[in-house]
């Protein structure tokens, strides 16, 4: 019993930490610091997944943890750092909405996911329950990052944090098959997109990766 509650507390802390770091993403106004916070996010995810692998005695989850650590906490942030430098866009993030309303919306979303998930999963085991509630919070906060930012790089960061929430949910669902395959599939998706941002710039298609600049080219066709 003692062991169970300790394992519960640790996974609880790590999942709660992820929600907290998602909040930190909301108010970063520089791309570099946003990338650093994201690297921290991925690191905590890797720890959390590794802990689940240990607690559930599911060695295949170590693969997912390793992917999160190597790919998302190191490779992608480093690559995005270099892209940001190359594109010369390390100035302020043009946030579409102010920080105050964004934080309030974030709190609302977390409250929503707590109420929703804790109510409907009343019969599931407590670990999975709270894990799901945290995971949904991370997913919704990632979505919030995506809609409040206009810059393509920060949108990708938002998407990746959203995806971290999904990995958290998948690893928390004990014994779920295909978790490793799904995390690999997601990594491929992200790699493609990061390469995409990189290539488009190299070919000098955009003057900036600000998505609102793209809107101008839409012209009058709509």
């Amino acid at each position: 019993m003692q062991m169970h509650s300790l394992s519960f507390d640790i996974s609880h802390t790590l999942a709660g930490g992820l929600v907290l770091i998602s909040f930190m993403m909301l108010y970063q106004d520089r791309l570099y610091s946003l990338l650093n916070v994201f690297a921290l996010h991925a690191l905590v995810l890797a720890l959390s997944v590794a802990w689940q692998a240990y607690a559930q005695d599911a060695p295949h989850l170590y693969v997912t943890a390793a992917i999160a650590l190597v790919f998302k906490a190191i490779v992608i942030p480093v690559a995005l750092h270099r892209i940001v430098k190359l594109l010369g866009i390390h100035r302020d993030i043009e946030s579409a909405v102010g920080i105050g309303p964004t934080m309030l919306a974030g709190m609302g979303l977390v409250a929503l996911s707590m109420v929703l998930m804790l109510r409907v999963t009343a019969e599931a085991d407590p670990l999975a329950r709270e894990d799901l509630a945290f995971a949904l919070s991370v997913v919704l906060l990632g979505l919030l990052v995506m809609v409040t930012r206009r810059n393509a790089v920060s949108q990708v960061v938002g998407f990746m944090s959203l995806e971290n929430g999904l990995v958290l949910a998948a690893t928390g669902a004990k014994g779920m098959p295909l978790v490793v395959e799904i995390s690999v599939a997601f990594s491929i998706l992200i790699a493609f997109i990061v390469i995409g941002i990189f290539l488009f710039r190299i070919r000098e298609r955009f003057d900036s990766v600000d998505v609102s600049a793209l809107d101008d080219y839409r012209g009058e066709r709509r």
Binding site: T121, L132, A173, G175, I182, V211, L214
Partner: protein, 483 residues
């Protein structure tokens, strides 16, 4: 390989993926375009053999039943005809320099990878595997939409990527919730994701969890179906990518997401205490129909026009499946098949028209029936069909949807008919300006392959006049399965 050891399911998966690898290596337009056609034909023939060869037993990963055979055969057929259209379309794009040989290789490899992804989504019995397959299909189409690398194309691809990813992320969350609901009943591990086992035990699942799961799945896969208000990616993706991709997007990829939704709808129908998914589907379907009908009036780009028409028709199909019952399901299935055939035929015509006129602007295209009779009249036939006029197939399926709704929910039927008539008006308005009147734009002859377009249109015509009895029996059976 002897006849008995021939495995059609393996064939519809292996042929596309192997030819994708081959097409990525081989240089030259002539060989690759032909190989693309041959591979698509072989896939189609393998899919057809599912009718004759005894079906494989469901395994944890593969399932073949009456429902998905319809989807697989339709998918591989349109994939095959589109590959023929694509061969002549791409030749023109190479001539004008919009595509380079390297991009051509990439394009063909992606085309077959997309076919692989869609076929995998149809045959997979595991809801996790199905999700991965839908993601593969989405990713390949994102890459193809952006293939021209113009500002507009990149913007469309970006928008499609962002909205599509959020959609598939929600779908995954829903999938995880279904697993959570199934785990206490079916047991831990792989089994709790196998659709056939889920359906057997769904009556004992926690209904609250299943409800939330369906809402996420509906939002997620619904984004990919293109239901309003989650449709924002669809018109851009259709308008800016190569036209063969517009044809498969409208004709096939939307069906893949719809198929995923139907699987989960069946699951919910088994559980007695879960919400009826019908109300959600009916609402979103109707909203899509009416919204798209209004939007049709304001389109100036011919590919965007037909993209909005796809939103309208997916709305009708989702509405029909949402109403449920044997008759509405039958109508929904029939409408789905008819829409796939007609819409891809229209895009075949539009692709050549845009190439010969050098523009997609509707007001720069006039008098097509005079300058290019075959293309012009093909387009007229296609638009008449898609607008739901008799005697073509879509008239019949729309009639069935409307009449079955009138019998049960007259108010909903009135809204639906309003949307249909509105869309009819918009399409006729645009059609008269494009097809008739004084010719405008280039009169250069066009090197087009008309076979795919007229093959589709004649199938739609035949279905409108006389639907063969075995098809009716089959669809009826599937309609009952859908509940």
């Amino acid at each position: 390989m002897s006849f008995h050891s021939f495995n059609p399911v393996a064939a519809v998966l292996l042929i596309p993926i192997c030819s994708a690898a081959l097409l990525a290596i081989l240089p030259g337009y002539r060989i690759t375009a032909r190989l693309n056609v041959v591979a698509s034909l072989l896939t189609f023939l393998s899919a057809l053999s599912l009718f004759v060869i005894e079906r494989p037993q469901p395994t944890p990963y593969v399932l073949v039943d009456d429902l998905n055979i319809v989807f697989i055969v339709l998918n591989t057929f349109v994939g095959f005809t589109t590959s023929i259209f694509s061969a002549s379309y791409i030749a023109h794009e190479l001539d004008t320099g919009r595509l380079t040989p390297t991009y051509l290789r990439f394009y063909h490899a992606m085309y077959q990878t997309m076919m692989f992804g869609m076929n995998l989504a149809f045959v997979s019995n595991s809801i996790g595997l199905m999700w991965v397959a839908v993601e593969i299909a989405t990713l390949t189409t994102v890459l193809m939409v952006g293939i021209y690398r113009t500002h507009a194309a990149l913007e469309a691809a970006w928008k499609y990527f962002i909205l599509g990813s959020v959609g598939i992320a929600f779908a995954l969350f829903g999938t995880i919730l279904v697993y959570m609901a199934a785990r206490p009943v079916v047991g831990e591990g792989q089994d709790a994701m196998v659709w056939t086992l889920l359906v057997e035990h769904a009556a004992h699942f926690d209904p609250a969890l299943l409800n939330v799961a369906f809402v996420f799945l509906f939002l997620g896969y619904g984004t990919k179906v293109g239901l309003a208000p989650l449709h924002a990616w669809l018109p851009d993706a259709h308008a800016e990518g190569p036209t063969p991709i517009s044809a498969v997007l409208s004709g096939l990829l939307l069906n893949v997401a719809l198929y995923a939704l139907l699987r989960f709808k069946i699951l919910l129908a088994v559980s007695p205490d879960a919400i009826a998914p019908g109300a959600l589907m009916v609402t979103m379907g109707l909203v899509s129909v009416v919204f798209a009908a209004f939007m049709l009036y304001r389109r100036r780009d011919i590919k965007r026009l037909f993209a909005y028409s796809s939103i309208e028709h997916m709305g009708i199909i989702v509405f029909a499946f949402g109403m449920g019952g044997p008759l509405a399901n039958f109508a929904g299935l029939l409408h789905m098949v008819m829409h796939s055939l007609t819409k891809s035929a229209i895009f075949f015509a539009v692709g050549h028209i845009a190439q010969v006129k050098g523009t997609q602007r509707i007001n720069r295209i006039r008098g097509l029936t005079v300058t290019h009779p075959a293309l012009g009249w093909g387009l007229v036939a296609g638009v008449v069909a898609i607008a739901g006029l008799p005697p073509l197939g879509i008239f019949m399926s729309e009639f069935l949807v409307v009449s079955s709704t009138f019998a049960r929910q007259p108010l909903l039927a009135i809204v639906l008919v309003f949307g249909l008539l509105l869309a009819l008006g918009a399409l006729m308005l645009r059609l008269t300006s494009v097809a008739f009147g004084n010719p405008r734009g280039s009169k250069a002859p066009v090197e087009a392959s008309y076979v795919p377009m007229f093959a589709h249109l004649s199938l739609v015509l035949i279905a409108g006049i006389y639907l063969p009895a075995p098809v009716v029996v089959w669809f009826r059976h599937v309609a009952i399965l859908l509940g």
